[in-house]
Amino acid sequence: MRRSSPLVPYLLVLPGFLLAAFIILWPLVQLGTIALSEVNRFGQLRGFAGLANFAAILEDPEFLAALWRTVIWTVGIVFGALLLSFPVALVLHQDFYGRGLARVIVMLPWAISITMTAIVWRWALNGESGLLNSGLRTLGLLDTNIQWLAQATTAFPVQILIGILVTVPFTVTIFLGGLSSIPEDLYEAATLEGASAFQAFREITFPLMLPFLNIAVVLNTIYVFNSFPIIWATTQGGPANSTDILVTYLYKLGFAYGKLGEASALSLIMFALLLMFTLLYVRLTARRGEDVA
């Protein structure tokens, strides 16, 4: 057999690489240029600024507060969604009457844009005329109305809950794909050997689902870290910036305050954070995979 030139793989990758470069690298270069420049309110460059924009971000106490909140937000939603989605996927994987309908119901929120969901929640969370308060009062769980969005102590947890709800359908889909990839005969063999349902779950389902768990963690982290609509539609990061995460803070910097240089610097910082997380996570899980093998 004739060996093909070692260049061929690279050539085959090239079109895809060029497309990715156009979509990802070109904006990155643009962002980098703006971040290193003095920029006016309208994004027109006015000279070289060095690292002044980055320094301004790092000195801003709002940045650290928003960063910390972003961590809580991301970890809360990603793991909340994992915990909720795994059992849901296990149930939906069973063969039962009406499974098709059940799957549709679980997937349905996915069909609605997150912004719409968030706006509906904003109405539901209204303190005086919202559905949530009136529902809780009808059930007798509440005596006086709670102003859910008036302070961060109630607003932020509720926002995380909404985030979990909208993340579940996607996560369930990944898990269902994973579950259907596990061969049935493994379970049959386990049953023959006398394994209990829990043992089958612990020794077969869970380890074989690990790669799918990892995909769900990485993809959801990327989505949630950058997720803007839920917080913006409900509180715009307020009151007093107490529900700001990095993306909402970025939006304010760029489009309300007109500090496009600082906003570009911040988005580069966010990009670097996500990239670092993803590389680290993939590295860790890959190594663990080798150990298991």
Partner: protein, 410 residues
């Protein structure tokens, strides 16, 4: 033969070229969506203009208010901005200093100028040049619910903030679901809702020395007043969850005794709660008798890089004629900026509008300074911390004033 063919082809090309030039007389207009009537209004104006000026094409881009500044920013940075755009007049200083807005004086004659009330035209004048025309104008006044005030034992709306606090406490005492003073604590104009009291107590947003006025006795007094009303239950609970629209909704439901907002609430009440017994009154005065309403104009500007300035001006000239202005102003519930429009019975005999126009002499406009949006955000954050009880009045306002001074470069 070949030569003739060539000439003919050239002529044909020339004709096509001329044809495409005629069609290319395009003016793009970015307009803010004030209500569902805005888009249809401008489309109708564009159609009328195109019918009167064959070969022109007016393209209207309707953008929601919330993202207008974002769209303008991205368009300008990419060099793809329209020829005309509506902007908040408080942003104009940035547009002028960066050379983005074109001066309009060369197009304006005295007859054109005299169509407008001076008070609305002047905010768009900078360094002696006019950079924008007031497309929308508004002021704020106090709405009150006659029934609630009567039940609480008040025949007339309060005229001072002290009276307002008493009235609000009495109205709140009427029942569990009824609140005296609707206090806005979230999103756009949360700062302005505080300025009504701040101005009445004698405050100024920017002091004579160019620094923020938030660290003054007037600001402390106004903030203490609001905070004490919140603590006394004279406002709706959880004020930081309420946007202006949320408070307006409570008012329309007859659950709030008093609130301060723009003329468009009258139009909304007419449509959504026609039975509501309400009145419109001046904004209450402070201890020194001072009072101030907030005057707002939005301007339509022409971009310096527009390729069709003359045609763009012609379109502006048309939409600022009495006929088109009346249609717009009535549809949106704004104050008339044209004198002839204001004299029309629909406006001159409207009792609610009368109150608003009477307030105009004491109207204050957002100061012409750079970074206004950031200053507003700093103020709102401080107010929310005060309303929530997370920070003391002096501490929060002093901190905000220091930050604002930094934005102002002081």
């Amino acid at each position: 033969m070949r030569k003739t063919l060539g000439i003919m082809a050239g002529a044909a090309l020339g004709v096509t070229f001329a044809g495409s030039l005629a069609v290319a007389a395009t003016v793009r207009v970015t307009v803010a969506e004030y209500s569902s009537k805005t888009g249809p209004y401008f489309e109708a104006a564009a159609a009328a203009f195109e019918a009167a000026n064959p070969g022109t094409d007016i393209q209207i881009e309707v953008v929601p208010w919330d993202v207008l500044l974002q769209k303008l920013t991205t368009d300008i940075s990419a060099g793809t901005n329209a020829d005309l755009a509506i902007i908040g007049t408080r942003w104009l200083v940035d547009f002028v200093e960066e050379g983005i807005a074109a001066p309009l004086d060369e197009y304006m004659d005295d007859a054109f100028r005299s169509r407008f009330f001076e008070v609305f035209l002047s905010p768009s004048v900078m360094n002696g040049e006019t950079y924008g025309l007031p497309i929308a104008a508004s002021a704020r006044a106090m709405y009150y619910n006659r029934d609630l005030l009567e039940q609480a034992g008040f025949d007339a709306p309060p005229d001072t903030w002290e009276e307002l606090a008493k009235t609000a406490a009495a109205v709140s005492a009427l029942g569990e679901e009824v609140y005296g003073y609707g206090l806005q604590g979230k999103e756009i104009e949360t700062d302005v809702y505080f300025y009504y009291a701040f101005w009445a107590y004698g405050g100024d947003l920017i002091e004579a020395d160019g620094t923020s006025g938030l660290d003054t006795e007037a600001a402390y007094a106004a903030a203490r007043l609001y905070k004490s009303m919140i603590d006394a239950g004279s406002t709706q609970p959880g004020v930081t969850a309420y946007t202006r629209e949320d408070v307006q909704n409570l008012f329309k439901q007859g659950r709030v005794g008093m609130m301060i907002t723009a003329p468009f609430l009258s139009a909304q009440i007419k449509e959504e709660a026609p039975g509501l017994p309400y009145g419109v009154a001046r904004i209450p005065a402070g201890p020194g008798g001072e009072r101030g309403t907030y005057g707002v104009t939005d301007s339509i500007i022409m971009f310096e890089n527009s390729q069709n300035k003359d045609l763009a001006w012609k379109f502006l000239d048309m939409i600022f004629t009495t006929e088109w202005r009346a249609r717009f102003t009535e549809g949106e519930g704004f104050l008339p900026v044209n004198k002839e429009v204001a004299a029309m019975p629909a406006f001159a005999e409207n009792p609610d509008l009368k109150v608003f126009t009477a307030l105009l002499p004491e109207a204050r406009f957002a100061p012409v300074i750079r970074g206004w949006e950031e200053i507003a955000a700093i103020t709102v954050n401080a107010l929310q911390a005060i309303y929530l009880g997370e920070a003391g009045v002096e501490e929060a306002l002093d901190g905000a004033a220091a930050k604002i001074d930094r934005v102002l470069g002081k």
